[in-house]
Amino acid sequence: MYHPNQIDWNQAIADAQSTVELEQSWRSELVELPPVVSAKLGSRRIKTTSFFFSGDTDGSDGGQFQTGSVFEPYTNSTDDSGGAASPNQQLAKQNQQASQQRTRIAPPQDVIKLEDRLFYLLQPPLENLLGGKTLEFPFEPFNFQYAGIAFLFPRQSAILADEMGLGKTMQAITTVRMLLRSGYINNVLLICPKPLVTNWQREFKTWAPEITVAAVQGNQHQRAWHWKANRAMVKLANYELLTRDEALVTDPEHQYDLVILDEAQRIKNKGNATSLVVQQIPRKRSWALTGTPIENGIEDLVGICEFAAKGAVTSGMTPREVRVAVKDLILRRTKDLVMTDLPPRLMRDAELALSPDQQITYDVAEKDGVMRLDDMGDELTIKHVFELVLRLKQVCNFDPVTGTSSKIDRLKADMEEVAASGEKAIVFSQWVGALEVIGKQLPQHKPLEYHGRIPSRQRDPILEEFKNNPNRKVLLMSYGAGAVGLNLQFCRYVFLFDRWWNPAVEDQAINRAHRIGAAGSVTITRMIMAGTIEQRIHEILEAKRELFKEILSDGAQPGRRGLSRDEIFGLFNLTTPTGKIVPKAENVPPEFGSSNAA
C-alpha cells in the first residue's frame, strides 16, 4: 500500500496522461458505440375524403307540401273490424313479422361520380324513408314494390316492366312523391292512354294526396292554358293529344324534370307520329312503364328506348347485346316470382264444337275463301288472308244467318253459375258488334258495356255501377278499351269470347281481374271452337306465350310474340299447281301484332 507521501506525483501525472491516451486509443480502436435506430411512432398522416350533403336535417316537411287528407300509417292500424284483411294488409303483416327488410337505393351504372354514388348509398333504407312521419300510405308496400321504388328513384332513364297487376302505378307515384318531397324534381309530365287519365287521378289521390295533379284536357285554348300553366306538380296528358299539341308539349322553354310514359308500348314504333313527339319533349328524366316491353320483337324495345334511353338499344343488335344493354335499364318482375300469395289464376280452355248452322256456314266460308286466295296467285297479300281469318272468326262467334252460337250457349250456362254464387264476370271480345249481341242474350244479368264506342266521360260511371250494383253481374268489354290500367279485382271470372292475336293483350285483359287485391282465385275461360281457325291460332299463341316467358329471363332468347307473316299464311295451306304460294311482301296489318285493339 502506498503512503501519500511516497507517491511520486510527477510520475503519476505522467502515467495518468499516458493511461488516458491509451484508453482513448483503445476506445477508438476497439470499442465502437452501438448503432441506434429510432422508430418514429404515430407520425403517419392519415388522408381523409369528405362529402357534405344538403337537405333537411330535422325530418320535417319543409313546408313544401300541404298535406291533405291523412291516412293512418298501416303500422298503426288495427284490424278490429273482424272483416277479412286485404291481401295487401295480410302481406304487410307478414312483412312486419319477418326480419326487418332494408331496401337500399343502389346507384345506377351510369352514375359515375363517387360523390353521386355515395349519395345514394348513404341514404337510409326506403322502409324508413317511407315509414317516417313525413310519408304516410294507405297500405304498406310489398317488398318487391320497395325494390321497384329503389330502382326508379336514382334513375334518369328507366323502364319499369313489371307484369300487369304488380302495382307499377303505385311504384311510380311513390317514387314521384319522394322525388318531389326531396326537391330533386319539381314538375312531372305523365302521359297515358286516354281512358286511363281518370284512373291515374284516382291513384294519385290514394297514394299521394298532397301532390297536385292537373289533367290536360278541353278545347285547343283550354289545353294551351293547361300546357303553359305551372300550378300543378304533375300534368296528366293522353297520347292522343300529343300530336295535336306538339308545339306546346315540345316547347323548349318548358323543360320537365320527369316525363313518365304509361303503357309505353304505345311508342314501340319509333317512327310513328306520337313517338316522334314524345322523343322531342324537353326533359331531364325519362321513365317508361309497360307490362309488355317486347310484344313482337326487339324492335319494340328499340322504340321505347328512343324515349327512355336513346341509343341504348338499336336495330340490328343481337339478343345477347340487347340483354346486356338493358341490364341496368329495365326492371321486370312477374307474379310467379314475387306474388306467391296472389290467388291462383285458373285457365280453362273451353273447346266447343260449332253449332250445326255455324258448321255449315264455316265450311262454306273456308272453302270459298281458300279457293279465292288460291286463285289470286301472285297477287295474294297478307291482307287477303287476314280478311278471311276475320270472317271465319266471326262465324266462330255467331252464325251470321241464324245467330246460333255454341259460345253463347256455353256463356249463358256459365253465367248462371257465376251469378248463383254471387260473383261477377267480365266478357272480352274483339268486336263491339259481338259484345252488343252478347248483351242482348244475357238480359237477366243486366250487362254493362265498356268499349270504344262509349264516350270517355261515361266510362268511369259504368265501372262504378258494375262495382257497386250487385245486380250487374257481367261487364262486356272490348280488348282495346278494357285491356289496360283498369282495376277490376273484385271480379273472379273472365271469359275470352274470342281470341286476340297477341297473348300480351289477352294477358292484360285477364289481369284486370287477377291483380293485387284479387278477392280469390280468378277463373279465365278461353272459348275456342275445335277444328277451326281459332284452334290453329290458339296453338300458335300458346307457343308464343311460352317463348315470351323466356324473353326477359336469364339465358333466354328474345323472340316475336304476335303472328308473323309466315305464321299467318301458315294458317291455311295455300298452294298452286306450281307449288306453295309465296306471298308478296307487305306490312303486317297492325292488328296482328299490336295492342291497339278496337
Binding site: L41, G42, R44, T48, S50, F53, G59, L121, L122, P124
Partner: protein
C-alpha cells in the same frame, strides 16, 4: 299524440356514426357518417386504408388498437367534421379513445351477440365512467358524459332508435367504404 316531456324543447339531434372497417389486402379504413335525427346523411368522411405498422404494434402493445383506431383514424375523421354531432355512436370498442378529442358524448352500441367485446368485460371503462342504459332492449354504453347529461342522451338515443336500429348506419358506412375503394381502385 305524444305528451310533451322535459326534452321536447331540445332541438333535433344529429348523430355521428364512427367505425373502422378492415378492407382485405388494403388495411383499416375509418368512416364517420353524420346523420339527421331521421337518419338522412349530412356529412360523410372516410380515410384511405391504413395498414398496421409492426414497430408500432410492438411498442404500443395492447394499446395499439386503441391508438390506431382512436388516436389516429378516429382523430383524423372527427377533425374533418364540420358539424359537431349531438351524440357520437360507435360499434367498435377500440375507437373509444377518440372521445378525448371531441366534445360530445360517445355511445358504444354493440351487436347483441357481440357481448364478448364488452369493454373491460362490462366493468367501468378506464375509470372514466362508462355508464350504460337500455334503448329498445339494447344495452348502450356511454362515455364522455356527465350524469346530468345522461337522461337527455338517452332520450336522443331512444328517439333515433325508433327510426332505425343503431347498426343500420354502420352498414351504410361499410357499403360506402367498399364502394369508394372500388371506385378509387379502378380510377
Amino acid at each position: 299524440m305524444s305528451q310533451p316531456n322535459q326534452f321536447s324543447h331540445l332541438p333535433p339531434a344529429t348523430f355521428g356514426f364512427i367505425t373502422v372497417v378492415e378492407v382485405p389486402s388494403l388495411g383499416h379504413c375509418g368512416g364517420l357518417l353524420i346523420v339527421s335525427n331521421i337518419g338522412r346523411p349530412i356529412e360523410f368522411h372516410f380515410t384511405t386504408p391504413v395498414s398496421s405498422n409492426r414497430a408500432e404494434e410492438i411498442m404500443y402493445g395492447k394499446t395499439y388498437p386503441g391508438f390506431l383506431y382512436g388516436d389516429k383514424i378516429g382523430a383524423a375523421l372527427v377533425d374533418k367534421a364540420k358539424q359537431l354531432p349531438t351524440v357520437l355512436v360507435t360499434d367498435c370498442p377500440d375507437i373509444l379513445p377518440v372521445c378525448e378529442l371531441i366534445d360530445a358524448p360517445l355511445l358504444l352500441a354493440l351487436e347483441p351477440e357481440g357481448s364478448a367485446d364488452k369493454p373491460n368485460n362490462g366493468q367501468p371503462f378506464d375509470g372514466r365512467g362508462l355508464k350504460h342504459f337500455e334503448v329498445h332492449g339494447e344495452t348502450v354504453y356511454c362515455l364522455n358524459a356527465s350524469a346530468d347529461e345522461l337522461d337527455a342522451i338517452e332520450h336522443h338515443a331512444s328517439q333515433f332508435r325508433k327510426q332505425l336500429p343503431f347498426e343500420e348506419p354502420f352498414e351504410r358506412i361499410r357499403q360506402a367504404i367498399f364502394e369508394a375503394n372500388q371506385v378509387l381502385r379502378s380510377a
